[in-house]
Amino acid sequence: MVLMTQSEEENFALSASIDNARNVSHILKAVHFKDTATVFATENGLKVTVEDSKCIQANAFIQEQVFQEYVIREDSITFRINLDILQECLSIFGSSSPSTTAMRMMYNGYGTPLVLTLEEDGAVTDCSIKTQEPDQTLDFEFSAANVINKVIMKAECLKEAFNELDVTSEVLQITMSPDAPYFRLATYGLLGQSHNDIPKDSSMVEYFECGQTQSNRYRLNLLKPSVKAVNLANKVCIRMDHRGFLSLQYMIKNENAQVCFVEYYCCPDEEFEDDNEPAM
């Protein structure tokens, strides 16, 4: 598996290479619910952000240790890119074959395209993807200090729960509490009301810390993309802060058993009684 090296001197703003492109595409799958993403590159690695409706944001972190080679010549690089195309290029040789695709990624700074070179079993492909002006991404101002309730559990039980959610319900109500029912996912659909309770002493729950009872409703169609992430994850950390903002952190292992994180932030539906403006 020989990587093509550039004959000219490498002075790209960002240059990274990886032996198995699936380690990147696998993580990106977890946040791929919109066609564009914003890529932030720092010396620590890549962060790929996808947003929707200004209410939900997903971030995929691919730390520099995942790459075999990672060189960045600027403090930070930001660009927007079409995620559909990026994923297609990463899996251009087919994603299910036993042999791995090596990838080299190069970016020469503002306005230049992202160049990918992929190689598998001697076949080489060059891709050049146009980059776009980065948009301002939302800052949910979610800080660990404001977290009131936090649960870490194995992903399986949440997988089952998310996949069985009543799709006719507009909202998903998440209740986290130091008292029963501890952790509850509830839907109110046309067919009736369903809830899924996971007690704090369940063997699936690894960490449970809830300061006060919080129950918030979130738009189900916004949280639906996070089902992709939960299906790929091993563990999930669910946090709710004092405003009812939800943070879902998924721990995903790639093929080299390296751990990457994907994070989803979602803001709650606000009741219309007191305020006139919804929390959008």
């Binding site: 069985e164 369903s194 899924n196």
Partner: protein, 407 residues
Amino acid sequence: MKCVLPAVNVKLFAKAVHCLAKIGSEIYFEPLENGLALKTVNSSRSAYVCFLFHQPMFQTYEYEPTSSENGTLSEDVESDGFRCKIAVKTMLQVFKSLSTIERSVESCDINFDGENCKLVFQLKCRHGITKTHHLTYQECESLQAVFAKDLSPNILKCEHKLLTDVAANFSTGLEEISMCVTPCQVNLKSFVNEDDENAKIMRTEMTLNPEEFSDFQIGVDTEVTFCLKDLRAILAFCDVAGTTLEMHFEIGGKPLIISTEQEHYFRANFVMATVANDEDSISQQAEKSNNVNFSSNTRNRSRTTASRKHGSHAAPPRKISPKKKSSTLNNGHRSAMKMPVSKEVDLTTCEHEISPEIPDQNQMPVDDPEHSPPFKRIRSVFFEPSQNLPDHSIVVLAPDSDDDMGN
């Protein structure tokens, strides 16, 4: 009404729900003194399924005939308990994934919540996880099909595997299958609508020896045609239940009943309507009987009347080209079984036919303005709600007029 299903039986219950879902759009939920009955009927009233889960299936089973929780319902019904029907989609929400259920459910509690008018299903799963579903339901009358299993002259008993293997040989898109029985053999073949001259249709035929069946009683040589899709749904349930099947049938036009049971635990009856044959040699009588059960709006019947007048059709009906009656041919009858019985199927007409005996030919209506394929008719299964709950009841009463009749 309150009951608890242990883990081993939840899968069977879920599979029954899936089977009901494939046939009808609503599941009739009827707690009885000796167990819980789940029934459904398809929209064309040509297939009826009734599962009766006896008390031993449940860890606990509480039944109150005159339930105070029913409120107004008990005033209408003569204190024979709570009954409701639930949309199939709603029930499937609870029992969606069979593999998950098998893997993780430890028990299933079914309760009736009188205050909020909801039926509550609570699945207690491994790792302390609880899934609760509060389902909306509709009150209804009891659904009861009219059929007399014990009077059938033909009985075949076999393992479900036999029929599953047989059904696997037929193409998955095939709607109906014909079974021709004689004391020497059972012949199954794909039923093809002669109107459809499409030469691309693959026809399959299989013959089984009497030895394949554990019980083989043929009183009347006959050929019955029924819906293969329904049969597959039934076999899918029997696969999980692992019990033997019994087929009771008579002639084309009379219902075909498949029943399976595990002593003391459950009993399932699947009643399917069969297509009437126009063979003069075999089912002349059957024709007569069936016509009466239809309103004049059913397209089928008109054809038969016309054909009889001609009297030129020899058996077997399928091979005769419909072109002779080209003026009245109507396409799109791929599946005679699936043709909806019109809403105007009179309750009154049904009421006349309380007994399963063959009525006089004279009762056949003459007016048949509609067109229909020549040699097929749907035999409808009669539906009348019963106030007697046993399965083999023959005498039944008129259905609830408030009830939206299958549509």
